[in-house]
Symmetry: C2
Subunit: 146 residues, 2 copies
């Protein structure tokens, strides 16, 4: 039997995935990554956000748990831990434990996570950039319909 490389098998399988189909695994994956905490965690680890003198763009970097917790204002420990675990399981972030005392845990994007971040960053920035336009649209809609 002919041996397929991983890349070949992936190319083969890719055409079989369609998120429009209810039963397709990619539908569930899409659901997982369509999450505000995922978007914000990837953005944080990807180095987004206001940096002094650097106009909101930074390098991907490792961040500690508490650092993330502070950055994602309002996130509960539960959601942060839970989302990080899910991302780790899917291979989007790595979790590194350094046996200091107290223990130090850092999270970092994998290459796979970085590839998603490049897309997700756009979403977050879109939301911030078009906020006013959306607000205007809502006002107009509510006045027209409401």
């Amino acid at each position: 039997m002919p041996t397929l490389t991983a890349a070949q098998k992936r190319a083969q399988a890719r055409s079989d995935y369609d998120a429009f189909l209810a039963g397709c695994p990619s539908r569930r994956l899409l659901d997982r990554i369509s999450d505000k905490w995922v978007a914000l965690i990837l953005a944080a680890l990807g180095g987004d956000g206001p940096h002094p003198g650097r106009d909101g763009v930074g390098e991907p970097r490792a961040m500690r748990y508490s650092e993330l917790s502070r950055r994602l204002a309002g996130v509960s420990q539960k959601m942060l831990t839970q989302t990080l675990r899910s991302l780790e399981r899917d291979g989007l972030v790595t979790r590194t434990v350094t046996p200091t005392v107290p223990v130090t845990v850092t999270y970092e994007l994998t290459d796979l996570g970085l590839s998603l971040h490049d897309l997700m960053r756009g979403i977050k920035e879109w939301a911030e950039a078009h906020m006013d336009e959306v607000l205007d649209n809502r006002e107009e809609y509510d006045g027209r319909v409401g």
Copy 2:
């Protein structure tokens, strides 16, 4: 007093929005658009998905309610209607009622919606393209952690 153009006001306001902040409106907007139904509706209206002989890329087009309902396999009327209303209110899609009998309703992307679609399409395609990789990662993680 100096008059600001809409573009200037938007540029001014943009720097005030930060989805990392819990109270920022853009956080809620990010939450709204981080939704699998939003991703799939935009993808559908943007002309994504398998087209006979066209390798999954199509033109943006108007779609009827029932058409969308069929395309997004497994979506309930409630979620479809609800999501479409939200998108309409935010100015991402237009809703056009044609007084035939029975009535015909079509949805179409606005320019704003189209701009988001360009980003969202990437997410859906990412999920489909990297499904196998993620599946492998999960298997490895589950075996390692158990």
